[in-house]
Symmetry: C2
Subunit: 424 residues, 2 copies
Amino acid sequence: MNIRFYNARILTMEQGAGLIQGELWTKGERICYVGPAREADQTVWDEQIDCRGNVLMPGFKNAHTHSGMTAMRSFADDMPLQEWLNTKIFPLEARMTEQDNYDLTKLAILEYLTTGVTGIFDMYLSPKDIARACIDMGMRCVLVSGLNRFGPSVEEMEKRYLSLNGMHPLIAYRMGVHAEYTCDRALLEEVSALIHKYQAPLFTHLSETELETRECLERWGMTPPQFFDSLGLFDFGGGGYHCVYFTQEDMDLFAKKGLHIVTNPGSNTKLASGIAPVGRFLEKGINVAIGTDGPSSNNCLDMFREMFLVTGLAKLLQKDAAAVDAYEVLKMATVNGARAMGLSEADVLAEGKYADLIMIDLHQPNMQPLNNITKNIVYSGSKQNVKLTMINGRILYQDGEFRNGVDSEAIYAKANEIIARLAG
Amino acid sequence: MNIRFYNARILTMEQGAGLIQGELWTKGERICYVGPAREADQTVWDEQIDCRGNVLMPGFKNAHTHSGMTAMRSFADDMPLQEWLNTKIFPLEARMTEQDNYDLTKLAILEYLTTGVTGIFDMYLSPKDIARACIDMGMRCVLVSGLNRFGPSVEEMEKRYLSLNGMHPLIAYRMGVHAEYTCDRALLEEVSALIHKYQAPLFTHLSETELETRECLERWGMTPPQFFDSLGLFDFGGGGYHCVYFTQEDMDLFAKKGLHIVTNPGSNTKLASGIAPVGRFLEKGINVAIGTDGPSSNNCLDMFREMFLVTGLAKLLQKDAAAVDAYEVLKMATVNGARAMGLSEADVLAEGKYADLIMIDLHQPNMQPLNNITKNIVYSGSKQNVKLTMINGRILYQDGEFRNGVDSEAIYAKANEIIARLAG
């Protein structure tokens, strides 16, 4: 498909580029032109879209999620993390089939499309089924292992690493473990050996709650990041999800090793886990991305809510209304996410990059007047402003309708059927 | 107009009513039936709407806003409250005409309709022009004076009180002052005399920032609520907007006098003002409502973002994931708002009440599965789920389109024109 977007404001998110008035052309899965209006052979276009002055920008990267948890949305709320995991989530997950994970991931993908997410960093059960759902729905996905003492084995993770990477242009796979508190030391040492064998980065839930951090200190005399580092788990990069309880030394470690932090303010807020010191991470030069976490802890998969929370909670924590400004947040939700996920070809809007982009509708009251479009998007934008979502050159969502050929009502019915069976 | 909504889930928000499966009928501006499906003479209906299992619930009450500030959305962000007011907002407002206020209020009303707001408590310049915009657009509005040492005079406030109350079924007017820090003592004493003359409630910005509270203590040896009370300003009810820095004694005063608190978490977050202790207000039995504050401090007028912030910030402040649960928040956004605003006939969905209601679309991925509809609305809902907004029996917004006969593009153009002139 060759698609011409014209009459657009283009926020490429390239360093210093600002807002370009003009056109963006796609050819197949890639962007082939971004710039001022230009003559082109009219016969080449499969579709020409008048953007009516609306914004084109890179799609959001949801840099930490557990998509298959959609079944448990609003199933067990108003509980602290550990109790919620142990009494509600783990027992249900034990009964979840691979087909369930596939069906539930499809529900999450519908939601991602409505909020302009064009790439997810997904840690959940049976990654091959997540991959299958993403391929069938057209979503770009970096899978990450959630290995822990209940599975999968390190051997299984290695198999997945070798088979899932390269299986499809939309799919990649990273090594990871669930968390310090769900892994034994011996297991982590095995993982470290594998990390070293492939010189691979490692991702994990890290310092999410005060309890986790305190118990790790008691067990090992080190914070979770220091403990992981002491085992060599961060020797080839990677990073942590959440990172709420980070010490000065933890931040220095992350800065020195070029590790990534994925902040999850919606989940940390709803589970009362705490506020991550995002402003200080940025001062240290750490690459900070944004994730929604899973739909059972957040409970929505809405990057606009996350963006407002990132800046809002930083302002509250630092008692400074100027903390972490809107452009910084937009970068975190797009470019920084791509960087953390290893998606260097899906980060900004430029010739040769993957056509992973969204159109933001400015013809809505919450986007007017146009005093500052970046601030409008972060401070007053909502998923209702997402007029179009394109991944890998395909328009998957437009004007409130899914264009990827799926039957959304059938997906909803299936999710209701699954939770009735699992909880029954 | 006689309208029949059928095949609905109805969240009446009446105490203990739960979710009713059935129908809701309107006759003119009021609800004439809520209950199970029932036979009716098919010839009486002007319109019959199949709700397809979607939720009907009372519209949200935005219990604190400054609608006409839409011009300054994203005009001056990332600044603390006092600096933002003194250097950016007040100079611009001094140049704003009454017609500007009318036009800018219309822009805000469009946004309210998209987020399911059916009633606003609006404190801003030239209330007669706010009233005019609301009448022209079909919005229910309780005006409140923002009297301060720059205007209006107490005589003018009295005139407005007498002329604007009763001018139109959609409009009411309450006495109010901007804040302690923008009023002299003598002025407040004059206001108190008027309050006593009419036995009227009084509303004001109250204890919004630490600075305001500290300076009031230094000036009068009392917190803002205690100072207002000492002047008799709360002798006939009313209450405060924001109420972030409330002492135990302030809460006791509010509980004893039956005063209302309108919390504004979006604005308090963005301006780094702080987190109001909403959970403790509720424990004291204080009626707590929710407002967006103005579009220049928030910057959006989105009740879904506010609702998530109310519960989320309470959870963070109290370090308790069970704090201020979803149903409590929905009550604050509807019934409690109506109570604070004196809209006793527009609070719940029941026979005889005004038909101020919204339809929440469950046929969207963020609302599935249907484990708990109340929690879905508060924890994962968004304005995109607002499928229909009806005020006073008129459908003003449906399926993303404004049905009140206004030209939204002309309103956007006017707002851009106004800010260009004011800032120029």
